[in-house]
């Protein structure tokens, strides 16, 4: 939890703000980017926001067994908790007339999403408890189980965005969104 610093409202803001702002009270407190950093956990598909650190699938296996397997099942194939969903397999099941099994390997378009989601939401009972190295390693393990990277490939801020997911081109825009 960050704490607010007592920064006086900058009077010069009023002079550069649009005229409409005069109608609003302007009660937002300025905050320096460095003070937002503990909250800024978004990872872009280009890798923006990925922290320092690294891991391999070999290193990730032990973390997975200890922290993930109880819900997601051995090697991510058959979850023990239905909502956990399968993480591995399902390749080829998006084909017409097949029952789709949408896993990280068969469906997810970006590997960066894996890091983003594991870091913010997993493990379920203690989210945001893994170190960056652990998130890289367990991400690498899940990617390796899906046959997307090798067991010793080093996954870090540089290599993760370059991982080519099998269903990368599987998505098209909805044609009826509002303009």
């Amino acid at each position: 939890m960050f704490t607010l610093k007592p920064i006086a409202v900058c009077v010069s803001m009023l002079t550069i703000a649009p005229a409409a702002l005069a109608q609003a009270p302007q009660l937002g407190q300025p905050i320096a980017p460095a003070d937002i950093a503990p909250w800024d956990i978004s990872i872009g598909p280009d890798g923006a926001g990925l922290p320092p650190g690294q891991g391999t699938a070999i290193e990730g296996e032990a973390i997975y067994v200890a922290k993930c397997q109880a819900c997601h099942g051995e090697k991510g194939v058959r979850p023990n908790v239905a909502l956990a969903g399968a993480l591995v397999g399902g390749m080829g099941t998006l084909a017409p007339d097949k029952t789709p099994i949408k896993t990280v390997g068969s469906f997810w378009p970006y590997a960066t999403t894996l890091f983003d989601y594991v870091r913010r939401a997993m493990p379920f009972q203690e989210s945001k408890s893994l170190t960056a190295d652990e998130v890289y390693a367990v991400s690498a393990y899940i990617l390796n189980l899906n046959g997307i990277i090798g067991p010793n490939d080093v996954i870090d801020a540089h290599s993760l965005p370059k991982v080519r997911m099998p269903n990368r081109d599987g998505f098209i825009p909805f044609p009826r969104n509002p303009k």
């Binding site: 009660l27 909250w39 997810w108 509002p178």
Partner: protein, 423 residues
């Protein structure tokens, strides 16, 4: 004004007993003229009840429903899922009007309902803005506010109707991920203007303060159009299960994007491709492609009464009642059929008819005691008509999971029992 009187039992308006909506518009129903009305015996003599003889209990700090209404509750699956994961569903078949009581508004949460101290909560706006800003809840409460009545529907509502065989489920189980409240709060555009939007910003990544830090990317155009940071729901502070102390309302957009427990808004040039906008809430089509970023809830309706569990008690007059809504605008018309879609008649629409809010529709029906299939078909003011199940399937098949909005059917059997069918 001179009301037109009807010598007969309303006017037949469509097959299998559907009557003219003038019954509701003019209030001129004359029952029994055809001999098929309700057959009521004489009433019992009236007794003076005990609660008229002694004073009742005193006041309560927060009122509760009658204990006789204890069955009107949200429904949710038992374990093995962890508590608070998944969804609880609104019992739409036990409610009337357009507003969902706050305690019965459906909830979808990914890691339970956080217990947030509003004094400790913060909302930060950062990324592609000139001035990153932090807001306390107290500060947000001092901004000019707006109220609007709007539905929120989970993108996964009605997904049971993708199943190849119609499942024996009721309204809540199939369609209960829908709620409507009067939401009050601060326009998001006001705060984004205060932060100063950089010209290259196109998206806003919204993030909740729950343990899952649920996150979605929202087009900046929507954020600047009608997005609301809601502090109040139906006149009181937003309920914890619906995002206390502040939630995002994106009128008409799928529920998942209306991020609860809002703590962070980051302006970016592109979407974040979060878990809930890639692996979930995308619609796999008949080929191997999937629609992504499916924002609006398209025109839809459901009959809430009669419906499974609400059996008809003998032939006679019934009101067919339901809800119609569209995330693209206002409901213009709802047609109702009692013969599985062979013939239709327009229903009466209960005002107020508001954009991106549900409309209560009503149709008078003279049930003859024979089999019937009840359907409703909504049209919104963009001209979009709710598709039949076959039309829906022709466009996208049944593998998409999300945004199921085809016409739904209740079969009424000779016993008056209603069941979910495909017709």
């Amino acid at each position: 004004m001179i009301r037109k009187t009807h010598p007969e039992l309303g006017d037949p308006a469509a097959g299998n007993g559907i009557l003219s909506r003038r019954v509701f518009l003019e209030g001129t129903l004359v029952v029994g003229a055809t001999g098929a009305g309700l057959s009521c015996g004489s009433a019992e003599p009236l007794a003076v009840q005990p609660w008229m003889k002694v004073p009742g209990p005193g006041f309560a700090g927060y009122g509760q429903p009658s204990p006789f209404e204890s069955k009107v509750v949200k429904v949710f699956p038992p374990p093995p899922n962890p508590p608070g994961v998944g969804a609880s569903r609104t019992p739409l078949h036990m409610l009337e009007g357009m507003i969902t009581p706050s305690g019965l508004h459906f909830e979808r949460s990914h890691s339970g309902v956080p217990e947030i101290d509003p004094d400790q909560h913060r909302l930060v706006i950062h990324g592609l803005v000139k001035r990153p800003l932090v807001f306390t809840v107290e500060a947000l409460s001092r901004y000019p506010m707006q109220s609007r009545i709007a539905f929120i529907e989970c993108g996964g509502n009605s997904l049971a109707l993708n199943a190849p065989q119609a499942q024996p489920l009721n309204v809540a189980a199939i369609h209960g991920l829908l709620g409507c409240s009067e939401w009050t709060g601060v326009r998001l555009s006001t705060l984004l203007d205060e932060a100063g939007i950089e010209p290259e910003a196109r998206w806003v990544i919204a993030e909740g303060a729950d343990a899952a830090a649920m996150s979605r990317s929202i087009p900046l155009t929507k954020a600047m159009d009608d997005a609301l940071l809601c502090l109040y729901q139906n006149g009181e502070r937003v309920r914890p299960s619906n995002g206390y102390p502040v939630r995002l309302l994106l009128p008409g957009f799928e529920g998942n994007m209306n991020v609860k427990w809002l703590r962070r808004l980051k302006l970016t040039a592109g979407p974040a491709m979060t878990k809930d906008e890639t692996s979930k809430y995308t619609i796999l089509l008949k080929d191997e492609k999937a629609w992504q970023f499916v924002f609006p809830i398209e025109v839809k309706s459901v009959i809430t009464r009669p419906s499974p569990g609400l059996a008809l008690r003998g032939p006679g007059f019934y009101e067919i009642s339901g809800l119609a809504w569209s995330g693209n605008g206002s409901i213009r018309q709802v047609d109702v059929s009692a013969d599985g879609g062979r013939s239709w008649a327009p229903a009466a629409l209960q005002g107020p008819i508001l954009p991106k809010a549900p409309v209560r529709f009503r149709t008078a029906w003279q049930w003859n005691g024979g089999p019937a299939v009840l359907q409703s078909r909504a049209t919104d003011d963009t001209g979009m008509v709710q598709p039949t199940r076959a039309q829906f399937a022709a466009e996208r098949g049944f593998r998409g999971v999300y945004h199921y909005n085809a016409i739904a059917s209740w079969r009424i059997d000779e016993m008056g029992e209603a069941s979910n069918v495909y017709a």
